[in-house]
């Protein structure tokens, strides 16, 4: 074993806020009221006024900041090192983006303040719209959806609206077996049944199978390109033509757009509608699970149906256009995750056109370098050239009883966040690795060393790998127990247990 990147260090224990509360402690300050106080029972009616909030925290300011700082040390983060989660595009989150999102006139802008006092905000949205249209090669875009899955829903509703106008919304959305789980869940919410399309032996869309599946009932195909194997769907133009011939549309899940920016544009290869994940391709922070941004870009035919309002230029100013009779309506209150849009635009401005293309090439180079180095050690079930991510399987290691999940946990001991485990579903024991352009050779070589070292450990000490991680403050967590009898909130116990 050769763990080079990390060694254990002490980390503080910390009780829950509720357990470290003491009656009367406070961490807030409010100014003196400059108006007469009001008796809540008189103003609201006695029955509407609540008693004190039982169990709510009572801590001092120092206790509060220590609490959250201590908890933060229990997390792994991009700022610690490589985070090679496939399909998640965990790239560096530039801090200037955080700063500009907090610009006073932007952070404190109220969505209902007059448009004449919102021109800066509208300018940012218009600027981002035009940049994303250039990057995707599409004709029109909405910034309203709050995340990728929300964008998917918006996109499928747009397809439905167009087909309804043509006279028949149809019944079915086709989805390849390699797709993200959000795709079928989205189709269901949009009122469609899901038709699954099997991938061929190379991991690509099977055009012959597609041809057979597309009939008068099919509204569209949802495809991820590059797909979740990291492989570009080389017959995408033929697939689009096939769909279009039969009156169906092509939806592209843009989760893997980090492989294409500056290299190829969905608008040029037949895509009718797609979403982008600003929190993947455009570097806005994942924040432990959100917020995201899921703009949806479309071809002209779908433009009339985009959510309201739409940005419109009127003379020398921007305005919102609500007079959109064919719109699918609103998918979210107001105009979208504006603060996320600011960060994404900052990323685009920092890179410029050439910088964005260079980032894509670095991301693809990193993934290919990892593939070459690990191919002798791990099984590569699909051999086509990959782009920004590479998917191995645990086939060789499974014969010794060690599965992809175990290898992932052992990576933690080496100081890395695991890759994406057991996805895509078409690979048994998948190990899905996406390094992004963020990583340099030094970090990547350490990562490769770690996975080679683990492959060797599996040959000599499989049990040790199966019980990993060994150096974390929390060892393997009993997820079965958590689901069997769910405890979803803290409740006072006579004798609190310290962690």
């Amino acid at each position: 074993m050769s763990i080079k990147k990390v060694r254990p260090h002490i980390s503080p224990n910390e009780a829950l806020l509720f357990e470290r509360s003491s009656p009367g402690k406070i961490a807030y300050q409010l100014p003196e009221l400059d108006v007469p106080s009001v008796d809540p029972r008189a103003a609201l009616g006695a029955s509407h006024v609540r008693a004190e909030i039982e169990g709510f925290p009572e801590v001092s300011e120092v206790e509060a900041i220590r609490h959250f700082t201590r908890l933060s040390t229990w997390n792994y983060a991009i700022d610690h090192g490589m985070y090679p989660l496939g399909s998640c595009t965990m790239k560096y989150n530039p801090r200037v983006n955080e700063l500009v999102a907090r610009t006073e006139g932007l952070a404190w802008a109220h969505p209902y303040q007059p448009e004449s006092l919102s021109q800066g905000a509208l300018e940012i949205m218009a600027h981002l719209e035009s940049a994303l249209l250039e990057i995707t090669g599409m004709d029109a875009i909405t910034l309203q959806p709050a995340a990728g899955a929300h964008g998917e829903l918006t996109g499928i509703l747009l397809i439905r609206a167009l087909l309804e106008q043509r006279g028949n919304p149809r019944k079915k959305i086709l989805i390849p077996d390699s797709a993200h789980g959000t795709n079928p869940a989205t189709a269901a919410i949009a009122g469609y049944v899901v038709g699954n399309i099997r991938s061929d032996e190379r991991g690509l869309i099977d055009l012959a199978a597609l041809e057979k599946s597309v009939d008068e009932d099919v509204a569209g195909l949802m495809i991820t390109n590059p797909n979740t194997l990291g492989v570009f769907e080389s017959r995408i133009i033929e697939a689009a033509e096939l769909l279009h011939r039969k009156g169906a549309l092509l939806y592209m899940d843009g989760a893997n757009m980090n492989a294409l920016v500056g290299i190829a544009r969905p608008g040029d290869f037949g895509v009718d509608v797609m979403h982008l994940n600003l929190h993947k391709t455009f570097s806005t922070p994942h924040g432990g699970g959100g917020p995201g941004g899921g703009p949806v870009a479309v071809k002209k035919s779908l433009e009339p149906f985009l959510p309201v309002p739409r940005l419109k230029r009127e003379g020398d100013r921007w305005t919102f256009d609500y007079d959109r009779p064919h719109s699918i309506g609103k998918v979210r209150a107001f105009y979208g995750n504006f603060g996320v849009l600011v960060r994404a635009l900052a990323y685009i401005l920092a890179h410029g056109g050439n910088g964005l293309r260079a980032a894509t090439m670095d991301a693809v180079l990193n993934a290919n370098y990892i593939r070459k180095a690990l191919e002798p050690w791990y099984d590569l079930p699909y051999a086509l050239p990959n782009m920004h991510e590479v998917v191995f399987s645990d086939d060789r290691q499974a014969r010794l009883g060690v599965r992809t999940g175990d290898i992932a946990k052992r990576l933690i001991d080496y100081g890395f966040h695991p890759y994406t485990v057991s996805f895509p579903l078409i690979v048994r024991g998948a190990m899905m690795i996406e390094p992004t352009e963020t990583e340099g050779k030094i970090e990547i070589d350490l990562f490769i060393d770690a996975l080679i070292s683990i492959a060797k450990e599996i040959q000599t000490e499989p049990e040790m790998v199966k019980t990993a991680p060994h150096s974390t403050r929390t060892s393997r967590v009993d997820e079965v127990k958590a689901a069997r009898r769910p405890i979803l909130k803290w409740e006072p116990l006579p004798d609190p247990v310290m962690p």
């Binding site: 925290p57 933060s72 789980g181 401005l349």
Partner: protein, 423 residues
């Protein structure tokens, strides 16, 4: 690295792409700019927005003071730059804060279980409606016209393809509260959920428990929405509601021109399996120590695919953390005092203006503009560097001579006096 990959240039890695899909010219975007230029660009954009104005806008987005600790905590890279906590062993920080968040939302709402966040209040309320339909195996929605108009628009978008007809019920012209007699008339055996908001869009506190009794009598569920979370510091949460879905923007989340915010759904234990969104649960590690992990994932899209309770994946974790820090800083005593300050400010302002409705209100209320248009009054206010209230005609044609005003703890007496002098 190129050599290891067997190519001479990075372009070689793309040689397998069909010629027809390749972009033939560079992206038409300007060259990259420096950090200083980026900061300068956004500062100039910010300067073109309202700056240095006092504002009396509410209507779902509230100007509350943001304690410094909030950005201090969420700026920590460990929280900011981590992914969804699927790998529990190295995500206990995020998992623990979400568990605390779920707990505090339950304490505030009086519910048994709360999820780890939704995109915002509007989508949370729409998801609550879909949840009610699954729970009752019915589809009809009865929605109060006093629910935020944009929330109703989102609900309409979500419900349209779920065979869930929406019927609206009106409001009492005197009190501004939902007309529960109208609700009673419109309830029928096919109603899945009655949807109310409290305080409602006019700022008026609704009688949610009575609406719940009516709903339950006809086999429907009661889903309550809220947009002003600070009101929970003083208002008794409705004991009879089945689902509470709301917006936490008031908890130290910047208005930020409409987002990102954080929504929540909270419910009773017996409805848990139909609740959408991520949940964190308590468990132990192999050494028997307390630990947390994501749980009940069999409701979610990555396991159940088209049979999932929702398609939601990414939620608003970091924004929920802002709210968690806010709730910790204000705590039991502070949230109450903050709510009382809001109550006092809004009642001071209302005392000089005569509200349009007589129902009890928290920190916002409707006023008639007495013959002049709300737009005209707002123009006069802008000259005093004041952003006035929201003209209501856009959403309620019958209230085109009225505006919605809000006064939070940040409203200063001198600005309120200046505002009332224009009426």
């Amino acid at each position: 690295m190129l050599e290891a990959c067997g190519v001479e240039s990075p372009e070689g890695l793309f040689a397998h792409l069909p010629e027809a899909v390749r972009l033939k010219q560079p992206l038409k975007l300007p060259p990259g700019i420096s950090e200083y230029e980026i900061v300068d660009y956004f500062r100039r954009c910010g300067d073109r927005n309202a700056n240095g104005y006092a504002s009396f806008l509410g209507a779902g987005v509230y100007a509350h003071y943001r304690p410094v600790l909030v950005d201090t905590v969420v700026s920590r890279g460990e929280f900011l730059t981590s992914y969804t906590p699927y790998q529990a062993e190295i995500s206990q920080g995020t998992l623990t804060t979400i568990f605390e968040f779920q707990t505090m939302i339950c304490q505030l709402t009086g519910m048994d279980a709360a999820n780890a966040s939704m995109y915002d209040g509007s989508t949370a309320l729409a998801e609550a409606a879909l949840m009610a339909a699954r729970l009752t195996s019915k589809g009809g929605l009865l929605v109060a016209r006093t629910v935020h108009p944009e929330y109703r628009e989102v609900l309409e978008t979500y419900a349209r393809n779920q065979h869930m007809p929406i019927t609206e019920f009106g409001y009492d012209e005197a009190t501004g509260a939902a007309d529960l007699d109208d609700l009673e008339r419109k309830l029928n055996p096919l109603t899945a959920a009655v949807i109310l908001q409290s305080p409602n869009f006019f700022g008026v506190v609704e009688d949610v428990n009575r609406a719940a009794d009516l709903a339950h009598h006809r086999g429907a569920l009661l889903a309550m929405g809220f947009t002003e979370a600070v009101s929970l510091g003083i208002l008794e949460p409705p004991a009879k509601a089945d689902i509470i879905a709301g917006e936490l923007q008031s908890f130290a989340i910047s208005p930020s021109y409409g987002g990102p915010y954080a929504g929540i759904i909270a419910t009773r234990d017996r409805f848990l399996r139909q609740m959408p969104g991520r949940l964190v649960g308590e468990t132990t590690d192999t050494h028997g120590r307390r630990a947390f992990c994501l749980t009940l994932a069999t409701r979610e899209q990555h396991i159940r695919r088209e049979k999932a309770t929702s398609n939601i994946c990414t939620n608003q974790a970091l924004i929920a953390l802002m709210a968690t820090v806010f709730m910790s800083v204000y705590g039991k005593q502070g949230l109450r005092e903050l709510a009382e300050q809001n109550l006092a400010k809004a009642h001071y302002l209302a005392g000089k203006l005569r509200p349009r409705f007589s129902g009890p209100f928290f920190n916002e209320f409707v006023v008639s503009t007495n013959g002049r248009s709300p737009e005209e009054i707002n123009r006069a206010l802008l000259e005093k560097k004041i952003v006035g209230g929201l003209p209501l005609g856009r959403f309620y044609p019958e209230l085109s001579g009225a505006m919605l005003l809000c006064a939070t703890e940040m409203a200063r007496r001198e600005h309120m006096d200046a505002l009332t002098s224009v009426f």
